[in-house]
């Protein structure tokens, strides 16, 4: 018994149920944001079923907000899809960072687990795993709980959206910019802090400049991002 305790001094959580429990903070965060997404998506003309389908298939908060915003503005599908790609490129880094913990798993297992990588589940998983090998069941538990709560919250929001009518009076239209602020602040920290601040300023100025010169330009965000990230590399 003592020997077992010693060899597993800091056991990594292993079971699906432990994963579900570890997802608690993520679920708490997804409920209001998913709800806000559902409400807003209804105002851009999506049906309740479409809201649920989007949350099931795409499963990426900021991209879904931006995508529905662009649908509402009657943007073309290629512009919506390329903006989605750019917004979600950040997952490359998270997926790369998870390789040490998951490299022992079968490829099919990792293909399924990859579907559930988000900013929030990544934060929870890496905080708990600390680079140690991860149990597939545990990660699956974290991902299933998080994804389910996102789908349910957005569908409930879509249903409520019909009842609420005009939601701008409740300030719900500010959920998206507020989420950008919440995601931006931690990104300003870390290595190359100065370069990150410069990056942010260049991106903001380029986007606003492009949109003032060409109102409604689909490509403004993509162009501003590419320019600013390049400036960041040169600056650091």
């Amino acid at each position: 018994m003592l020997a077992t305790l010693e060899t597993t001094a800091r056991p990594s959580p292993a079971t699906f149920a432990e994963g579900l429990r570890a997802a608690g903070p993520v679920v708490l965060g997804y409920l209001p944001i998913g709800f806000a997404f559902g409400v807003l998506a209804r105002t851009t003309g999506l049906t309740v079923a479409e809201v649920g389908l989007m949350s099931l298939l795409v499963y990426a908060g900021s991209a879904q907000f931006i995508g529905t915003g662009m649908i509402g503005a009657a943007a073309a599908a290629p512009a919506i899809i390329s903006t989605t790609l750019l917004v979600n490129l950040r997952h490359l880094l998270m997926s790369t960072a998870l390789v040490p913990s998951l490299k022992e798993n079968a490829a099919w297992q990792n293909s399924l687990l990859a579907y559930g990588i988000t900013d929030e589940t990544f934060a929870v998983n890496t905080a708990i795993l600390q680079g140690q090998p991860a149990s597939v069941s545990f990660i699956a538990g974290v991902h299933v709980a998080s994804h389910s709560s996102w789908i349910v919250a957005s569908v409930v929001g879509a249903l409520a959206g019909q009842a609420l009518g005009d939601t701008t009076a409740f300030g719900l239209d500010f959920a998206l910019p507020a989420m950008f602020i919440g995601l931006l602040m931690p990104n300003m920290q870390g290595p190359d802090r100065k370069a990150r601040v410069v990056c942010g300023i260049v991106a903001a100025a380029a986007a606003v400049g492009a949109l003032l010169v060409r109102p409604g330009a689909d490509w403004a965000i993509i162009a501003a991002t590419i320019v600013a990230a390049t400036v960041g590399v040169l600056f650091s």
Binding site: S95, I117, A220
Partner: protein
């Protein structure tokens, strides 16, 4: 209400594909390869850039060009959201503070 338009289904599948690939490729395909350091460096600046660009658009641009308070209180509502984000690091707290500030500003202005 429960219908799914084919054009929307196609759009969602496209969005899902470009979202899934960056999540999957490093873990499944590239775990044997290594991305060049310069590419990793560039990628590390993408989140800041895309978020700042999107935020600037939301805060400053409306349907008729530049959108500033009091008609468009977004810039003012961002202040408490930034404060909560800086002090608590809580995404949910930030979103709730932003929504509450916006509702209040719409009431007052």
């Amino acid at each position: 209400m429960m219908t799914v338009r084919p054009a929307m289904l196609a759009l969602f599948v496209g969005m899902a594909l470009v979202t899934y690939l960056p999540r999957m490729l490093p873990l499944v395909v590239l775990s044997r390869f290594r991305l060049p350091p310069l590419v990793l460096k560039w990628l590390s600046f993408v989140p800041v850039s895309v978020l700042a660009a999107l935020l600037a658009k939301e805060l400053l641009i409306g349907k008729e060009g530049l959108a500033l308070p009091p008609a468009h209180p977004q810039l003012l509502a961002a202040i408490p959201a930034f404060a909560v984000a800086a002090f608590t690091r809580s995404l949910m707290g930030t979103v709730l503070a932003g929504i509450a500030a916006m509702a209040l500003l719409r009431l007052v202005l």
